[in-house]
């Protein structure tokens, strides 16, 4: 098993948090994982991004130039990273902020109105969790239950009261993609 | 017994001739340190941090554990050593080029942190070991090998007064400037050392003693004239006295 993903969006959309969460869940599921936040010159352009690799064997490069998958939270991130996605790769588009028409045919795209779904659950800021739930459902790289269980290890104790809601957001994203996969 | 011993060196002083020039005050300063360490019962608990300059060989004359610091860095080395061995007595012995020029950052910050160390600062207004170059403490008008026409305030700035600076820092517990030009002043110097050392032993803070000293060779003077120069030229610019003593409330 090998999966890598670039998670990208505006600063403040919580892309680093879901990157951490995905990698942590991967570790707890027994895989090797790496997480690297964007660093240096790549930081220009208004997007924040991080890269996660999950693998059954030891991981070489933590930096991925041709990713197998993407979680795209805003339009500039799509413009920047879709061209790098491998043919046949998988991407989650936050259709609340990204034009789904821009998705290329050479890749598999799942659109998720993450902001709206999160809004419906009571807090737009959980859009990142909706997107991650969608991603986990689409790729199956880690069990969704493992991701939910890992929330308490990644979210600071100050916000622990938000964990149940975040778990709901993960589930909502997964459900949304499950419907598209049928 | 036909002879009566009236003057002897403490055991901490290693019995060998020093490499210092005739009239140099390092010997006096070493001896004062040795006497105070002995009287305070600190000899076997003392860690000496030497510096670069004529006094680099202090370890040849004082029978205590010692480490040699790079030029100017003795207060940083002493910080590390004291942090590693808080129950030991740690002191640095530094000249004016070492402490007031290249090591200015280290001495100021060690004092400001209030490191529980003691600093013996020998100020003879010149780089002695390297052959009499201008020091940050060289007085305006004083000739040196790098200001042969005399220090010029416009070009070189004025002599830096360290005790005034160290005395103004929060972590300093005791700071005094003394002189080694007369018996009276030497006695006062010994008291100052004891006071500064006590600040470390009691855990009060950083102790600093500046000793105005003679360097007849680089001043191109005989020892007596050199002593007179301290009295007549140095003390007026570098006033003697206590610049800080945290044990005396309301006094500075």
């Amino acid at each position: 098993m090998y999966q890598d993903v670039i998670i990208a969006g505006f600063g403040g959309q919580g892309v680093m948090l879901i990157g951490n969460l995905l990698a942590y869940a991967g570790m707890e599921a027994g895989s090797e994982v790496t997480y690297i936040p964007v660093y240096g010159p790549e930081m220009r352009g208004g997007t924040a991004n991080c890269t996660v690799v999950i693998s059954s064997e030891d991981i070489g490069s933590p930096i991925i130039q041709s990713p197998k998958s993407l979680i795209i939270m805003n339009q500039p991130s799509l413009d920047k990273f879709q061209p790098k996605l491998v043919d046949g790769g998988v991407q989650i588009l936050n259709s609340s902020l990204v034009d789904p028409e821009k998705a290329e045919d050479r890749v598999t795209t799942y659109t998720v109105p993450a902001n709206e779904i999160a809004d419906g659950l009571g807090n737009t800021r959980m859009a990142n969790m909706v997107a991650l739930g969608a991603y986990v459902q689409a790729t199956g790289c880690v069990p969704l239950e493992q991701v939910k269980k890992s929330l308490s290890s990644v979210i600071s104790s100050r916000y622990s009261h938000l964990i149940p809601k975040n778990a709901e957001a993960l589930q909502a994203g997964a459900d949304h993609v499950a419907a598209q996969m049928k | 017994m036909s002879e009566k011993l009236v003057f002897d060196a403490p055991e901490i002083m290693i019995d060998r001739p020093t490499h210092y020039c005739p009239g140099c005050h390092h010997g006096v300063a070493h001896r004062l340190v040795g006497e105070v360490l002995t009287e305070m019962g600190l000899v076997d608990d003392t860690l000496c941090v030497g510096s670069i300059g004529c006094s680099v060989f202090i370890y040849n004359y004082l029978d205590v554990d010692a480490v040699e610091a790079p030029h100017g860095r003795a207060p940083a080395v002493a910080t590390g050593l004291k942090r590693a061995h808080k129950d030991k007595f740690v002191f640095t012995y530094q000249g004016d080029g070492d402490l007031a020029s290249i090591g200015l950052a280290e001495i100021v910050h060690a004092a400001n942190r209030g490191e529980k160390i003691s600093v013996v600062f020998v100020n003879n207004t010149v780089y002695g070991m390297t052959g009499g170059q201008m020091a940050p403490t060289t007085l305006v008008g004083q000739k040196s090998t790098t200001c042969p026409d005399g220090r010029c305030a416009d070009e070189h700035g004025q002599a830096i007064r360290m005790s005034e600076i160290i005395g103004g820092l929060g972590g300093t517990a005791y700071c005094e400037r003394v002189s080694l030009d007369s018996v009276k002043n030497i006695r006062r110097a010994k008291k100052a050392l004891r006071k500064a050392f006590e600040m470390q032993i009691n855990g009060t803070g950083f102790g600093f003693v500046e000793m105005l000293s003679a360097c007849p060779t680089n001043w191109k003077m005989d020892p007596v004239s050199a002593n007179t120069r301290i009295t007549e030229e140095m003390i007026p610019y570098f006033p003697l006295g206590v610049f800080k003593d945290v044990t005396k409330d309301g006094e500075e």
Partner: protein, 353 residues
């Protein structure tokens, strides 16, 4: 599970935790990116082990505090990044000359000058050639993973005391900033290899001791240099490298640290396409694992050295295989973030040459 639970941490935190596991009780540092996680972590953690944390006024002071604590015979370290490590070279030279053990971590960033805060291997020469003035060497360990960062800190302290010599851990911004699972472990007991017999801690009931690097008497400095050189000769036994897919390889890539692990991905991909390429990843840079490379050269392998600099370790690869083989070089410029795709073309080019 018999294994200790894995923790998910940054390389910089792995370095910090490794140092604590190694029994480090004195930390001295000065802020500089990309290693600030280390002083930030240790600023609170040192107190929990009754240790000392000092934020120094400069890297010059931090390294000299390290010298002082090392003279006291305790396990001490400092960490910095390239421009700061340049400032530490004075103290490191004095420590080597005075034979004082201490650990210096360099989370290498781009240079020269202020450079950038991204990853670089531009400090290879500075690290492996001594770095400061005089004829001396420091042992140099090069972690490529967060686990290695943790493990190598424990090893670094042991080697420092074993040889009474400064040890440099040369990480980089990638290793420092990435997160990976790390299995924490604690060595049985810190072995300071008889530090109590040379350190200065007060001459109670023994002769006084003197730690110095000044040797003015006739023949004394020559004697000290001979002594140091024989020590460096003995250190050669510590050379280590990770050898991957080299048995049937036509071309062996030599790469260290984070570039080594990135190239491993490239090698895996090319292997899946049937290309006969292998990888040697030096884990110690001084001593350099010359024997490993020389043995491969004797088998007729060809070599390509890949570094994130303009050609430094390649000198050591060439010296290792001299008289038998040579090494080509591919340099990835510091300032550009490297990825495994970057190395496909250079490897194929030299494989087919």
């Amino acid at each position: 599970m018999s294994k200790t639970k894995r923790i998910f941490i940054k390389g910089n935190e792995a370095i910090s935790r490794g140092a604590l596991a190694a029994g480090c009780t004195c930390y001295f540092g000065y802020p500089i990116t990309p290693q600030n996680d280390i002083p930030e972590f240790l600023s609170t953690k040192m107190a929990t082990v009754n240790g000392e944390f000092v934020q120094a006024e400069s890297e010059v002071a931090a390294a000299n505090m390290l010298l002082g604590a090392a003279a006291g015979g305790v396990r001490a370290m400092t960490t910095s990044s390239s421009p700061g490590v340049s400032l530490m070279q004075e103290a490191i030279s004095y420590m080597a000359g005075s034979e004082l053990p201490g650990v210096i971590v360099n989370v290498n960033r781009g240079g020269p000058g202020l450079g950038d805060i991204g990853s670089s291997q531009g400090d290879y020469f500075q690290s492996t050639r001594g770095g400061g003035h005089g004829d001396y060497r420091t042992l140099v360990l090069a972690p490529g993973t967060c686990q290695e960062a943790y493990d190598m800190m424990i090893e670094a302290f042991d080697l420092a005391f074993k040889y009474r010599n400064p040890v440099l851990v040369l990480a980089d911004a990638i290793v420092g900033q990435m997160k990976e699972p790390v299995t924490p472990w604690e060595p049985k007991a810190a072995d300071n290899h008889g530090a109590e017999d040379w350190c200065i801690d007060g001459a109670q009931g023994r002769e006084k001791r003197l730690l110095k690097s000044l040797f003015l008497e006739d023949g004394a400095l020559a004697g000290q240099n001979r002594n140091l050189q024989s020590k460096y000769e003995a250190m050669q036994a510590e050379a280590r490298a990770d050898v991957f897919e080299c048995d049937d390889a036509d071309l062996v890539v030599v790469a260290f640290g984070s570039i080594g692990r990135i190239v491993k991905s490239t090698v895996r991909r090319l292997r899946s396409e049937g290309k006969k390429v292998g990888l040697v990843r030096p884990l110690t840079l001084y001593p350099f694992p010359s024997e490993v490379l020389r043995d491969l050269a004797k088998q007729g392998k060809r070599f390509l050295t890949i570094e994130q600099n303009c050609g430094q370790m390649v000198d050591d690869v060439r010296l290792s295989v001299r008289g038998i083989a040579d090494s080509e070089f591919h340099g990835h410029m510091p300032g550009d973030l490297p990825g495994s795709d970057d190395f496909i073309a250079p490897i194929i080019k030299h494989l087919e040459d």
